[in-house]
């Protein structure tokens, strides 16, 4: 048997890699920060924990990174999930109401006791994740079994999800004071705790998609679902799986987000983050039409998105102008991806033909 030839890293291989353009984009943004923002790369050590703008990019990007993991798989099957923001809000509402049920009695207690919670933490987390899992399952059933266009199917939950979240919290913002819960988004073990969550979700997802056949099946379904069907792949189950998993990731992101602001705010948690997650995946080089995906590249994509936001804040762009500036930068990044630009880069980087 012929052994697969060891791949030699050539310049051409590097530029063709899925990770190349996201990393180039991230490097450009960080380079900008390095030149224009003094102290951007400074990392200080506070009681053994690391702090700094660079760390903040990771910490604030953790919700989008977690969302992007689930979103990558959904987009790889040729679908899209617009409801992750709403699912975050639902998960946050479930968690909030289980820790502080005062809203149900139509009254707002300003609890100050950092040790008070109505239900134990494990139940709070399990319930929130179970509900988000059901949200994902709902999307999966609509897309895989009811054959509804993914964009339309998930739009239903995107719109109705916020209503559901409001119903759960009785239309009120729920204060969360319970300290152990706050650790999810604000805790620090040398690095921010939410980063460990990202790492765990990433590692598990990578293992499941690359060490079992699921990753290949997801790609196969995304590239050509008819061929996959004829080859005996149950494309419905694959789709059900990825949408359910995407909902689950949104649930985790919802916990991180609500823990971060110590509030279950059904109206604002996860607002428009579905678009950040989709953009992260696109910057990561996974085609919206489905097919080949790279989880790592999506992670870099999420960091690109966050680095843009962070840099804009750092140079003093006001919050109301942020979206517009972000759009300009995103257009620039996406331009790097167009086949024309890619072809150009490969042309100038290709070794010159000897005459």
């Amino acid at each position: 048997m012929k052994k697969p030839t060891k791949q030699v890293l050539t310049w051409r291989k590097i530029t063709e890699s899925r990770l190349f353009f996201p990393i180039v984009a991230l490097t450009l943004i960080l380079l900008f920060d390095f030149i224009f923002i003094p102290g951007f790369f400074a990392i200080e050590n506070r009681e053994g924990n690391l702090h700094g703008s660079l760390i903040d990019i990771f910490r604030n990007g953790s919700t989008v990174m977690i969302l992007a993991i689930g979103m990558t798989l959904v987009i790889a099957t040729g679908g899209v999930d617009l409801s992750v923001g709403a699912t975050m809000a639902i998960a946050a509402s479930v968690a909030g109401i289980l820790m502080n049920p005062s809203a149900l009695k139509n009254e707002v207690f300003f609890i100050t006791d950092p040790n008070y919670t109505f239900q134990p933490l494990w139940l709070v987390i399990t319930a929130a994740l179970a509900v988000s899992l059901i949200c994902g399952l709902w999307n999966g059933v609509l897309v895989a079994y009811m054959r509804i266009q993914p964009m339309v199917a998930t739009l239903i939950l995107m719109i109705s999800g916020r209503g559901i979240a409001q119903l759960i919290t009785n239309g009120l913002r729920v204060q969360i004071t319970y300290k152990p819960y706050a650790f999810i988004g604000q805790g620090w073990v040398v690095l921010p705790f939410s980063l460990y969550l990202v790492a765990i979700v990433f590692a598990i997802t990578w293992f499941i998609t690359r060490k079992t056949a699921i990753g290949m099946f997801i790609e196969s379904v995304g590239i050509n679902f008819r061929s996959s069907y004829f080859s005996g792949i149950d494309e419905k189950k694959i789709k059900l799986l990825v949408y359910t998993f995407c909902g689950f990731c949104a649930g985790i992101a919802g916990l991180v987000a609500s823990s971060n602001i110590k509030t279950s705010d059904a109206n604002n948690i996860g607002l428009t983050t579905e678009l950040d997650a989709i953009l992260a995946v696109v910057i990561g080089g996974t085609a919206m039409s489905g097919g080949r995906f790279s989880l790592l590249a999506s992670m870099v994509g999420a960091l690109v998105m966050q680095a843009i936001t962070q840099s804009m804040y750092a140079i003093g762009v006001p919050a109301f102008a942020l979206q517009a500036i972000k759009a300009v930068v995103v257009i620039f990044v996406i331009l790097l991806y167009s086949d024309q630009v890619k072809g150009f880069v490969q042309k100038i980087s290709a070794p010159k033909k000897e005459v």
Binding site: S220, N224, R226, S227, F230, G232
Partner: protein
Amino acid sequence: MSEADQNILSMEGISKTFPGVQALDDVSLSLKKGEILCLVGENGAGKSTLMKILTGVDKPDSGRIILDGKEIQAKSPQHAQSLGISTVYQEVNLCTNLTVAENILLGREPQKMRRIDWTKMNALASDTLKRLLGVDIDVTKALGSYTVAIQQMVAIARALYIESAKILILDEPTSSLDVNETEQLFKVMRKLKNDGVGIIFITHFIGQIYEISDRITVLRNGKLVGTYETSAITRVGLISKMIGRSLAEFDEMTKIKLESSKHIRSEALLQAKEFGLTGAIQPFNLDLHVGEVVGLAGLLGSGRTETASILFGSDKADTGSISMNGSVVQDYSPLSSIKRGVALCPEDRKAAGIVDDLSVRENIILAIQASKGWFKYLSLPEQYEIAERYIKLLNIATPSADQPVKNLSGGNQQKVILARWLAINPQILILDEPTRGIDVGTKAEIQKLVLSFAEDGKACVFISSELEEVLRTSHRIVVLREREKVAEFSGEVDENTIIHAIAGSEA
């Protein structure tokens, strides 16, 4: 010298390469004024590529095109049309909900006071049809209310409306026409010919070639075989030029087939009883014996593909039953069929066969992995072992097992799909048009492979629209007509008997 003057068009030394395939290799063609030239060749011979280059859809890699003594290079179909090259495609691409007049003059409507002058437009359209084509119809009626033949005429009228049309390309215009409609079209073609228009006529029907054409240009695998005076070449001669098969090769296949028929045993691997699906195929009985290749013959739409898909389970039958190895099959789905050892190589390679962005290796192991499920993932060395084995066995031309399958040529893609199915070690292999659009050499390889597969105590269902191929590879032939099994032949049969069965007339 004088001959060159007569040519209104000559294409010289045209070459064109698409990724992974040489579509045209140094092909030349010439067309005289007032001549009907037939362009023939099997699927994938390069006819449509050559015409696309002429009409500006594709650019040639090399070669030159001379129209009326001047070298041209059409940049787009519109540009080609303005140069005097008009095309009518196989499928009528007009708007059936608009009137005939609107279709002919769309985008060039005569105007009066910045409004469309309807009276003038209708008169103009009506006159164009009558004068150019000799067709007299009501041009104010919707195009959809006329037969396909008339729609075809309207398409030609639209193509010729440009006053300077020197060349008319007709790309398989007769494939959806009946005998009378074809005759009507031919009348128009003869009239245009007398008016001095050069016509390039692409068709698959040998009879029509002899009826209408002056000369024939034959392409095969992207190469020019030759150009012949129609009166100077026999039908048999023409067909052998098109398919380029030698008698020796034919004899070899016959010998292999005879040899393999000794391995047929009487026990049935699969029995279908009154098996059918409403609207797709009438209930039929079919036995597949060990060691046997059963050919399905019939015209397009006769129910060949439908039979294959209900046998495989990608479509669910609603009457009757199948039993395999004596026990009745309960659930029909591709996955359960694969687990039972039934494989289907579907008709449409691009849409239902290959997964184009995945590598050759992944494409080959796809079905095995599907039957193993999500978690029993074949290790990479196992995957490479299987892929390399079939790349060697089937002679798949690929730089490596990691090559995306989309970079391979059509024939090699087909082999990858065959490898996918052979890898699951099936009992029954159903092949729906496995040789469509692939080169002759690969065709012969696949045909031999089918016979040696059956010899190993397995069975094969072989579907092809090329009757000759079905005859050469099948031990038994089932004829389908209008979604019904109408006849079954075993042993030596001649082509004529089958053709009569397909046509439904007595021999």
